[in-house]
Subunit: 201 residues, 2 copies
DNA sequence: GCATGAATGTAGACGCCGCCAACAATGCTG
DNA sequence: CAGCATTGTTGGCGGCGTCTACATTCATGC
């Protein structure tokens, strides 16, 4: 046994799975999803080209796991930003800005999260993750409704109205239809119109 | 020179570019964007694996062209469905249903259209195509505003509110968050809330 | 009509990729 | 410490996108 540096990479990496996810997220951010290959991740981490296969049965499995990480992050961000005490209009504005900010900062990751690729069983986990994400919106709407701040009606339906608008704005912002500033600036107007509608009062 | 059938595929295909786009669209619909390869398209059309390279400098160029085809189709569908005589609420409902229907029928194509991949120069053509698509919405909003049917204010801002909502709904429907029926059923409620807002009147 | 250059299609090669199977090193548990 | 599951390695397979060199056809001007 030659006296090599004691910390020459041991045969086992220790936590290759997490390292792969982290490296993948970084690559995604830096170079886009197109140039995300398992072999390159393996090279970056100094393991063999087949090592990732021990932790993800195929590439899609890694992408699924990555998407779940994304949902976790997003739900955290929304829950941290939410201020239950605010009236709905302000509360929605905060949530919208948070969502929009996350979307812009994690465009490629978001694309993965909303990709329609993970069908068989991962779809369930995704659905659960989405529910958690939408939870902040649902709570905000329900609270406002209880306070009599907004109209009666199926709260799910109301959440849908708000949710589609925010999601649509984020989606357009991410695909480059707006600059970050324009999108952010549009938020307050958007929320205002959601509250008061297009019909004159 | 053996007497083969006179119509054995001639050396030149005739309209390989169009054929490639058509085949690609079919493959996209049938088997998804994942399994869309230039080589397979070439095989399907009975040409050599390098022939597509004569018409599209690389795979992304074909995808860009495909996206433009998609925008054309969508704009056509919206323009055909639009009924300028209707009051805004009904008019929006019709447009929303049309957009939603197109989105569901052409999910993979839409994904391409909204992909954030075509940056350098194709982005301009895309932007123009999007403008045409949004045109129907803009006209509907402007007309309603002129009739005094809806509130004053920057028409672009109002169009944005409507556009984000519809786009968000379509986006969620396409990614499988709703069934087709649920999404379609949600349209009228969505448009209603857009018109009258969440605040009680 | 026919030469000649531009379009278009073909054949082959290169390097990358995802995935698989066989084998090696390590960790864990009785 | 034996034995087994886990994790990593090596090598190979076929498919892919792209490039280059070459072949065929088309079209244009004379």
């Amino acid at each position: 046994m030659p006296a090599e540096k004691p910390e020459t990479r041991p045969y086992h990496h220790g936590d290759l799975r997490s390292a792969l996810l982290a490296a993948a997220e970084r690559t995604l951010r830096d170079k886009g999803s197109a140039s995300l290959s398992l072999r390159e991740l393996a090279r970056d981490l100094g393991v063999s080209h087949a090592a990732p296969g021990r932790h993800f049965k195929d590439k899609q499995a890694l992408l699924n796991a990555l998407a779940l990480v994304g949902y976790d992050r997003m739900a955290e961000a929304l829950e941290a930003a939410d201020e239950p005490g605010l009236p709905l209009q302000e509360r929605l504005t905060v949530l919208a800005r948070t969502y929009l900010g996350f979307a812009i900062d994690n465009a490629e990751l978001l694309e993965l999260m909303y990709a329609r690729k993970h069908e068989p069983d991962a779809a369930e986990q995704m659905a659960a993750a989405i529910d958690r994400t939408v939870g902040a919106l649902e709570r905000a709407v329900a609270a406002a409704q209880q306070r009599g701040e907004i109209v009666d009606g199926d709260p799910e339906q109301l959440t849908l109205v708000v949710g589609t608008s925010l999601h649509g704005l984020a989606s357009l912002a991410v695909t480059g239809k707006f600059t970050t500033e324009d999108a952010m600036a549009a938020v307050s107007g958007l929320v205002h119109h959601l509250m008061y509608g297009l019909k004159p009062r």
